[in-house]
């Protein structure tokens, strides 16, 4: 049975081109980029090439890119840099739907005496920039708001927020882990200060990330040691992965438009098909402003883990915001923040696509899903009491 991988917001397959670019630096070119000899120097050159490639993806300058070990490190570095460089300011602003890399660091800093504001989202997972205005004060050290949400794919108005904060001179970081490589990003147009990228979400390997730090932004390193990355991130570089990230960024940039329309078409086919064939299914998140690859669908009155394990029997990999999949007992904080009703929140499934998915993959999901949903509903004590009609944004698909 072949695997149908629809969990690309969790991680992606390393692109073969990326692997090819990395291979020589895992084998024969093993020099240390910090060494004085030519053998190390050629590795250093290759890292700088990757820096240019990553910069180009977001229209930054190469010297504005710091390589890190992952998205979490980039997020942590951005926030901790603000805390270190603005010691008098004790207020942090973020959203309720951030990735744990930001959210849990804010909780941690909250316990250390920082004031933290978690901005709410509406039923469609949209952020209200006006709420940000209210939250801001002279004590605000940094605002950290994700570019696009990992669970729903909803895109936040980051450009608008950046412009407002720019006028007020407030430091702004965005976690663009899910957005980078999936939608156009342009830091020349968007006056934000720091932006997080993670390699394994765009077909580079795991264990590599980058942080964009705009020239002139006061910065404090998170990892302290040697002089690598112009003293902004100590530690011998993860050379092969950096080169892989560079290649992945280049691939993403050159194919961006094409992929957006390809993924959007597949995703919409999947979504429309599921909503039409499975009663009481609803889309979570704003369908007007979403990543092209993400569909978060709730199958009401059944539970997500059960759906996932049944899908697994057909080789289909997806993910769920249900509590049972995570070992926690509370369902997805994102869906809860959106006020998704309990009848739906436990049965939410996220399908996230990549360039390696095909129409055949979508066909298979559409073939098996109605049966799975039916069977689990038959099993459910709520099966009989399901009211007529279904909620959610199903209009344009019917």
């Amino acid at each position: 049975m072949s695997t149908i991988y629809l969990d690309n917001n969790a991680t992606t397959r390393t692109a073969p081109e990326v692997l090819d670019a990395m291979m020589p630096y895992l084998t024969e070119f093993y020099g240390n980029p910090s060494s004085m000899h030519t053998f190390g120097g050629q590795v250093h050159k290759k890292i700088e090439e990757a820096r240019e490639q990553v910069a180009a993806l977001i229209n930054a300058e190469p010297e504005e890119i710091v390589f890190t070990s992952c998205g979490t490190e980039s997020d942590n570095t951005a926030l901790m840099s603000a805390v270190e460089t603005l010691p008098a300011k004790k207020h942090l602003i973020t959203t309720r739907v951030e990735h744990p890399a930001v959210l849990n660091l804010c909780h941690h800093l909250g316990r250390k005496g920082f004031r933290t504001t978690y901005l709410p989202v509406d039923m469609l997972g949209r952020l209200d920039p006006a709420a940000l205005d209210k939250a801001l004060d002279d004590d605000t050290a940094i605002v950290s708001i994700m570019f696009a949400n990992n669970e729903t794919g909803v895109i936040f108005p980051v450009e608008e927020i950046a412009l407002r904060l720019h006028e007020q001179g407030v430091l702004f970081h965005t976690d663009a882990v899910q957005a980078a490589g999936k939608i156009p990003l342009d830091v020349k147009k968007t006056p934000l200060h720091m932006l997080t990228i993670s390699g394994h979400k765009l077909h580079a390997p795991k264990g590599i990330g980058a942080l964009f730090v705009r020239k002139g932004t006061r910065f404090h390193p998170y990892i302290i040691g040697g002089h690598q990355e112009r003293s902004r991130r100590a530690g011998t570089e993860n050379v092969a992965s950096i080169i892989g990230l560079g290649k992945a960024a280049e691939l993403a940039r050159t194919n961006l438009e094409e992929e957006i329309s390809y993924l959007g078409r597949l995703r919409d086919r999947l979504e429309r098909g599921l909503l039409n064939s499975c009663p009481h299914a609803r889309v979570n998140g704003d369908i007007a402003s979403r990543l092209p690859n993400t569909a978060n669908i709730s199958f009401e009155y059944i539970e997500g883990e059960a759906i996932l394990l049944r899908l697994n029997e057909f080789g289909i990999c997806a993910s769920s915001g249900s509590a049972c999949t995570s070992g926690s007992l509370e369902p997805s904080h994102v869906l809860r923040a959106m006020g998704v009703p309990y009848t739906a929140v436990h049965g939410s499934i996220r399908f996230s696509l990549s360039r390696y998915n095909t129409d055949r993959d979508i066909d298979t999901v559409l073939e098996v899903m109605p049966g799975i949903v039916n069977e689990l509903r038959e099993l459910s004590p709520f099966g009989r009491s399901i009211p007529e009609g279904s909620g959610g944004q199903t209009k344009e698909y019917t």
């Binding site: 009155y301 059944i302 539970e303 997500g304 883990e305 059960a306 394990l309 049944r310 697994n312 029997e313 249900s322 509590a323 049972c324 999949t325 070992g327 926690s328 007992l329 509370e330 369902p331 309990y342 009848t343 436990h346 038959e378 099993l379 459910s380 004590p381 709520f382 099966g383």
Partner: protein, 277 residues
């Protein structure tokens, strides 16, 4: 992905005894859609023998919840109600070759549905009354349930209680209280299983039975406004009388079973408990 045993996977993918029983003799319903799992158990019971002729279920929940429900129905079919009441949540987990620690609450849900159904059959509502204090508001778990599950399963940490009851798994505000409840239980009754003394004389055995009942059992029952008295000890047979709210309680079989379990654990494997009528 959870590390489920093949039996859990099998029971989840091909659950047995699914569905409703029309005009069932007993129905037990526990959990809710808010909490993320719910189980409705239907029983057909032979009135004369109190034998469970048929048991079926409907479950909303994860793979373990569905598998636990299926296991429960397989375990109790053909048993009398009293025999069925002796099925513990651990029996359900064991039947499935074990459940991940974080999923033990699914087996507890099975056990609770069984109690609810039997209470329903016997005409005594087992459902939570207003008098019972809810400790965990996120998951609507009462102090009574925490105590019972903790004692039945030898739970000594808050995390374990969370795995078995969900209490404490939400906002976490109830954790200090769970801690207190555990402290109260285990200060009266050390959770470490002492080695059973070997080769006791009859007199020594009687003395030990009395001691265990005084030290480990009565304080817990008294805390719930119940009590127990020893009426007679004859070899392995211990005759007791339940007092306070325990007497005439629809759950008295459960209480007796847990007393028997405790005596078997701390005194001797062959103890049989009987209620004096």
């Amino acid at each position: 992905m959870w590390d489920y045993t093949d039996k859990v996977k099998e029971a989840f993918l091909r659950p047995k005894n699914v569905g409703e029983i029309e005009n069932a003799d007993a129905v037990g319903e526990v959990g809710s859609i808010v909490c993320g799992d719910a189980l409705k158990l239907y029983l057909r019971i032979d009135k004369a023998t109190e034998k469970i002729l048929d048991a079926r279920f409907q479950t909303f929940g994860c793979a373990s919840a569905i598998a636990s429900s299926s296991a429960l129905t397989e375990l109790i079919r053909g048993k009398t109600l009293d025999e069925a009441l002796a099925v513990t949540n651990q029996d359900i987990a064991d039947f499935l070759g074990g459940l991940p620690a974080q999923k033990m609450h699914c087996s507890v849900m099975g056990r609770e549905a069984l109690e609810a159904a039997i209470a329903n059959y016997r005409g005594a509502p087992i459902r939570k009354t207003d008098a019972e204090r809810v400790v965990c508001k996120c998951f609507d778990v009462t102090e009574e349930k925490i105590r019972r599950v903790a004692m039945d399963n030898h739970l000594t940490t808050v995390d374990e209680v969370t795995n078995f009851t969900k209490a404490g798994g939400g906002c976490g505000e109830c954790k200090p209280e769970i801690e207190n409840i555990l402290a109260a239980i285990w200060s009266a009754q050390p959770p470490l299983k002492p080695l059973k003394p070997k080769g006791m004389t009859n007199l020594q055995k009687i003395a030990l039975i009395q001691e265990v009942i005084e030290r480990d059992i009565r304080p817990l029952l008294q805390a719930d406004n119940g009590d127990v008295e020893i009426v007679d000890i004859d070899g392995n047979r211990v005759v007791v009388a339940l007092r306070g709210i325990c007497s005439g309680c629809s759950m008295s079989e459960v209480t007796l079973k847990s007393i028997q379990d405790k005596l078997r654990e701390l005194v001797s494997d062959d103890i049989v408990i009987q209620e004096s009528r």
